[in-house]
Symmetry: C2
Subunit: 451 residues, 2 copies
């Protein structure tokens, strides 16, 4: 496989040498057709790189991941300098503190990215795994094996860690990746992509296995979404608006991730201590992530509401409660009046909608109306109710007597997480490396024909 050693033309899309002539030609603003042609060229190089990646064995891919980890640490000064440009621009533009935090890289965070790549290198290779197989009565030897998807694209917001994260997952699973990060992180992402490409080349893997379309802005993202036949899957990572925009506009296959309007149903028989512990964990341990609980449904016969509400309020949670809940709360627990908007809201903050229901059926009905199909949990000691909840709730993860925070690839033993799919096709729930593969049927015979 010496082709990896053939010198590559300097086609880095984040390379100013390449992007500049196009801009000059079109008076600093490339036309839609120009951007489309440029993105198609990137995708075609990605296809070539994907073919080479698909034939790289695990040892070679892991060498690439470790080379990237080492390069991130070696060149952290360059990465941090680029990042401080983005952060300074963000501050000037009045970016929120939470967004600035997501945008900011530190030495410790770069070390974290390098550690994650090392963990990825230690995971088994999903490629080549035999899903099923048999020898047919006519002697045909049949096996269905996992193979890389090919060209994996990602569109995400200004979180530079996603650049390294998606590139690592894509490479480990034998794919080539095309990235479109947020404009607010453009300098950081450009620095990271350069480091990633250089590291790949240093071990003889194709630099074009990691490319970016960031320099083409929103038009580039649009061209990527429309590149049917050139992009095998597009993964949007970010908030609701980003995901909905991609899902609605994409002409290439998309895996929808992340939106989690998560419910916990406190059944009449739920244990008080367990209810308090799980609610505190599910709401306050990390409120900004998608597996945090957003609505609590309380059975009207439950006696544990006062203890649960008191504990949540003491932890700083604002309760958005319906009238029946408000009437049942102790005088010491304040709340705000809930509207239908609360049932629909993924707060991602220290807020919780709380409604009273009279039965498991009513809880299921509320969840069917408002859930995004991510994760729902029941806290109960009633076996029949647990079984009915498992059977009737149509979500990616259904949990009995545990925190909703467990809906996570790492927690569920997948090793790495690409995202949490809220769609039903291809992948549902936490996606690991295998979800970045497809399958191929391999049939071997010695002259068999069909009767």
């Amino acid at each position: 496989m010496t082709e990896a050693l053939i010198p590559q033309a300097p086609e880095t899309p984040n390379d100013a040498r390449q992007a500049a002539p196009l801009r000059e030609l079109k008076n600093m603003r490339p036309s839609t057709a120009d951007v489309e042609a440029a993105v198609h060229a990137i995708a075609d190089r990605s296809r070539q790189a994907a073919r080479r990646m698909s034939r790289a064995n695990r040892a070679w891919k892991d060498r690439g991941l470790r080379a990237i980890a080492a390069a991130l640490l070696e060149r952290k000064a360059q990465i941090l300098a680029a990042n401080s440009t983005d952060v300074a621009a963000g501050k000037t533009n009045g970016t929120s503190a939470a967004m600035l935090d997501r945008l900011t890289l530190t030495e410790a965070r770069i070390q974290g990215l390098a550690d994650a790549l090392e963990n990825l290198a230690n995971l088994p290779d999903p490629v080549g795994n035999v899903v099923r197989g048999q020898t047919l009565p006519n002697g045909l030897r049949l096996r269905q094996v996992n193979v890389p998807l090919g060209v994996v694209a990602a569109i995400y917001e200004a979180r530079p860690n996603v650049t390294v994260d998606i590139a690592g997952l894509g490479l480990k699973s034998g794919n080539a990746v095309i990235l479109r990060g947020g404009t607010a992180a453009a300098a950081t992402n450009a620095a990271l992509v350069t480091v990633l490409r250089d590291a790949l080349e240093s071990v003889g893997l194709p630099a074009d296995a990691v490319q970016s379309v960031d320099q083409y802005g929103r038009e580039g993202a649009n061209a990527l979404m429309r590149a049917r036949g050139r992009v095998d899957v597009l993964i949007p990572r970010g908030g609701r608006d980003l995901i909905q925009s991609v899902v609605t506009n994409a002409k290439v296959p998309v895996i929808e991730t992340g939106e989690g309007n998560v419910h916990i149903f406190l059944d009449a028989s739920a244990d008080e201590h367990m209810a308090v512990e799980i609610l505190l964990n599910a709401k306050t341990q990390r409120p900004s992530v998608c597996n945090t609980v957003e609505t609590l449904l309380v059975h009207s016969a439950s006696t544990v509401l006062p203890a649960v509400a008191t504990a949540l309020r003491a932890a700083g949670v604002t309760l958005h409660a319906d009238e029946r809940i408000r009437a049942a709360l102790p005088a010491s627990v304040d709340s705000v009046r809930a509207t239908d908007e609360d049932w629909a809201t993924e707060y991602m903050d220290l807020d919780l909608a709380v409604a009273m229901v009279d039965s498991l059926d009513d809880a299921v009905k509320h969840i069917r109306t408002w859930s995004t199909g991510h994760t729902e949990a029941i806290l109960t000691n009633d076996l029949g109710n647990a079984e009915r909840f498992i059977a009737e709730i149509d979500s990616a993860a259904v949990i009995v007597n545990a925190s909703t925070r467990f809906t996570d690839g790492g927690e569920l033993g997948l090793g790495a997480e690409v995202g949490i799919s809220t769609q039903k096709l291809h992948a549902r729930g936490p996606m690991g490396l295998t979800e970045l593969t497809t399958t191929k049927w391999i049939v071997q015979g010695e002259g068999q024909i069909r009767a």
Copy 2:
């Protein structure tokens, strides 16, 4: 589960009582908005029916399938009468003989449909199958199980057998189906859907698990394609134009099926007898289906071309050959000159494109340029070439030394076939019942929280 016994309102979409008022209201032509509302109402009833189907155990679903089989035979006079109306109209409209054949039902074909339903009833239930599971270190019991997709829609051409076929597969896998058959088969499909619904009701399964939007014509099909959130998957079955139209216009998840520009590469070392037998089988056994070979690539060092070409020509196959092949053919074998269009064509007839290549690399390059990613085969005695072909060809099925006609759910042991997916997400290659399911993660604990 007594809810199945609650009387259903006569909401059959193929019921003239329901469709008539809408047409009268709008002067015989319902508006797009009216059609959309009507299709949404159908989809919402389908969702209700899907919830009931998802809880029906295998014995109950199999009872439904057998009731349908019995009803098809009992009411065959009614079905054949409706079919003869469609066939007569088709003849008047100058429909081709091949299309008329696909449209026509006979007693024997109805018996075949009933037999297929009986076979389906004998297959294992894909629902409830545990894909993987473990007990985590913290004691959480985890399993990922197959569950029905929910609402499965199909858009297909005037082949009434698909109505019964998709309904049977959908029901066995615990889904509800919404059908849109070709207008040319409208009377037959209406009769079949009535029989199917009555049979489901007779065993206490929801009639709305089978519905049709045929009475809303093209507008109905469009509304179905746009019913995002209401339709879990849409499967187009038919020719290239139908599939491309659905893939391009659908806003709901689609599984692309069927287009097969299938290649066989005759390597230098291929055995002559095997090559003749496999080519005859792959081209002439059933030329009109998607796994029939469409292009033969012949290594320039192979000596078996004369025997293969003579046998194919004797079997009535027209050879569309490039110049080098034409020069190498025996004088007794005539051919027509191939153009690029031939490399791109899925003839589905007794025609075969034939090109000469100088290496495995050239064969792979030709295939990458022209293949639809369905099935490709290599005939060789060279182990290295077989392995390289398997590794480098990115198609749903890759075959060594056997006929391409084996890419078929029945032949590969899946029991039943929904279609052959040529996409990479969710399902690739022959799709069985499992491909009509998704998965759900079920997590059971006793108060675990995340650290």
